[in-house]
């Protein structure tokens, strides 16, 4: 009985060759049968037994209801020597991670920046924010151009142009002001101060 527990197709009473939607239908029917007060189990299964059966059904559906886990399960079952513990939901799930990397997982974290007293001092004292200085701070805080663009949703091309003080490749100054504010925010700078100072030099250099 312990081994039949892992014959998920038997538990859901479907053929191993059935379509995915048939599994869902079978699961919904089984759930309706063993959860709650269905007259169909009357005098055959006690409440306790129905709960046990429901557990089996849920486990079977956790595996078969997922296409990836189902194909992994099929593969494992067809092997000559298969240990029952390989067929549990948890083990199949961890095995599936080796095949399909988890897309929801975050990208490897960025290299940690090392605080540098000299640089911190410069940031604190600086009254004159130029593109070059922004670039310097960005590199000091270990943000790549792409990463910054990803966070701020500003095109990397614009960020590059801002750092080069290149108004020809940038939109109207009101937008640039917004961009600079966002960049400063991400880099942990004083937004207002950076914006005012940058826009002063930006306007004088461009127009």
């Amino acid at each position: 009985m312990e081994t039949s527990r892992y014959n998920y197709y038997d538990v859901l009473e479907v053929s191993p060759h059935c379509q995915q939607h048939e599994i869902t239908t079978a699961y919904e029917r089984a759930k309706a049968t063993y959860a709650g007060e269905n007259p169909a189990i009357y005098t055959i299964f006690s409440e306790h037994e129905a709960r046990e059966l429901l557990k089996l059904v849920e486990e079977a559906y956790q595996v078969l209801g997922n296409k990836t886990l189902r194909s992994l399960y099929d593969e494992k079952v067809s092997q000559v020597q298969v240990k029952p513990e390989d067929l549990t939901y948890e083990n199949l799930k961890s095995a599936s991670k080796a095949v399909v990397p988890d897309l929801n997982k975050k990208a490897p974290s960025k290299p940690e920046f090392q605080p540098d007293p000299e640089m911190e001092n410069l940031i604190k004292k600086s009254q004159d924010w130029t593109g070059a200085l922004l670039k310097q701070v960005r590199e000091y805080k270990k943000y790549s151009l792409e990463r910054l663009s990803e966070i701020t949703k500003i095109s990397a091309y614009y960020i590059h142009s801002i750092e080069k003080n290149d108004p020809k490749n940038l939109p109207a100054s009101v937008f640039v002001r917004g961009y600079v504010g966002q960049i400063a925010k991400v880099l942990g700078l004083d937004e207002k101060k950076v914006c005012e100072s940058y826009m002063r030099s930006f306007k004088s250099s461009g127009n």
Binding site: M1, T33, N38, P39, I41, T43, F45, E52, L53
Partner: protein, 305 residues
């Protein structure tokens, strides 16, 4: 085509056996089959009333006493291609049929030029009903969604399972089986109790259990269904039978509750004749098609759904 014998039984009385028998017969006749309905309800004949026909002397008693053959007892119902044989009404005489009579009945019926013979049994698994049920080509159980009916339906299936196994195991094994069934609640370990698994440990797995019943499934109809829940009861009972007995209960589908039924019964006229366009006519058609074109219809159903 050889004559097919279908028997219609139920665990509980009053769930609509006779109504189903007459409706199945009429539906088959509409599909151009010659049908004989055989009223074998030993507690009193009833089938003639659904057709509005009178009681006569020409009934099954004459067959049991050996005066007449089944062929001579056939009466027309007034519906094209549907004939019937009236059951007993003289219940003061003991009515159980012995095995020799049942054998005789079946061999005579198989000789007749009918495509389908539908046997209307009484309620519950009495020895005669069970024997006829077992020997039929197709077995149909009628139930509804009441817990009392569900309980009695399971008792019927249990009796059918045991009596079929009785012929296939030694008397010692059968005693063990009976004991197992009687004691099972007290032997319950962890998990859920399954008659089938318990049997395996008690008798051993040499018994080719699943093959025996794979060839002898029971079809099931949920009558007077009033909701989606009632409709799905058949699937739930199928699942319970698989898990508990490992027995193939084949759910044919629901027959909805329909006011046309009791109105027609009151008028002593078959529902499908008085109200041919009632929705249940379609449900009977679907059931009959599932029964007569097993593979075709189920595959089509799968493709559509």
């Amino acid at each position: 085509m050889a004559t097919k014998i279908w028997s219609v039984g139920a665990g509980k009385g009053g769930v609509g056996k006779t109504f189903t028998v007459s409706s199945l017969g009429i539906t088959l006749s509409k599909l151009n089959h010659n049908v004989l309905l055989l009223d074998l309800d030993l507690s009193g004949a009833n089938l003639h009333s659904t057709f509005g026909l009178p009681l006569t002397q020409n009934n099954l008693r004459k067959f049991v006493s050996g005066e007449k053959s089944i062929k001579e007892l056939i009466t027309l119902t007034g519906i094209p291609r549907v004939s019937y044989v009236q059951g007993f009404w003289d219940n003061w005489t003991p009515s159980e049929l012995n095995e020799r009579m049942i054998t005789e009945l079946f061999s005579q019926v198989r000789e007749l030029p009918f495509d389908f013979v539908i046997v209307d049994l009484g309620a519950g698994p009495s020895p005669t009903y069970l024997e006829v049920f077992k020997r039929s080509d197709e077995r149909i159980l009628i139930g509804n969604s009441e817990p009392t009916t569900v309980e009695k339906t399971y008792r019927f299936i249990e009796t059918y399972v045991c009596s079929t196994l009785k012929e296939r195991v030694s008397s010692e094994q059968y005693l063990a089986l009976e004991k197992a069934l009687r004691d099972y609640r007290w032997n319950q370990g962890k998990g859920y109790f399954s008659f089938r698994n318990f049997l395996k440990t008690q008798i051993g797995s040499d018994l080719n259990y699943s093959q025996v019943f794979e060839e002898r499934p029971i079809h099931f109809i949920v009558n007077s269904s009033r909701s989606r829940l009632d409709q799905d009861l058949g699937f739930s009972m199928k699942s319970v039978c698989t898990k508990y007995y490992d027995f193939p209960l084949n759910y044919l589908g629901p027959i909805d509750f329909d006011n046309a039924v009791w109105q027609a019964v009151r008028n002593c006229e078959p529902v499908l004749i008085e109200k041919p366009f009632t929705p249940i006519a379609g449900q009977f058609l679907s059931i009959v098609k599932t029964m007569t074109h097993t593979n075709f219809h189920s595959n089509l159903y799968k493709a559509v759904i």
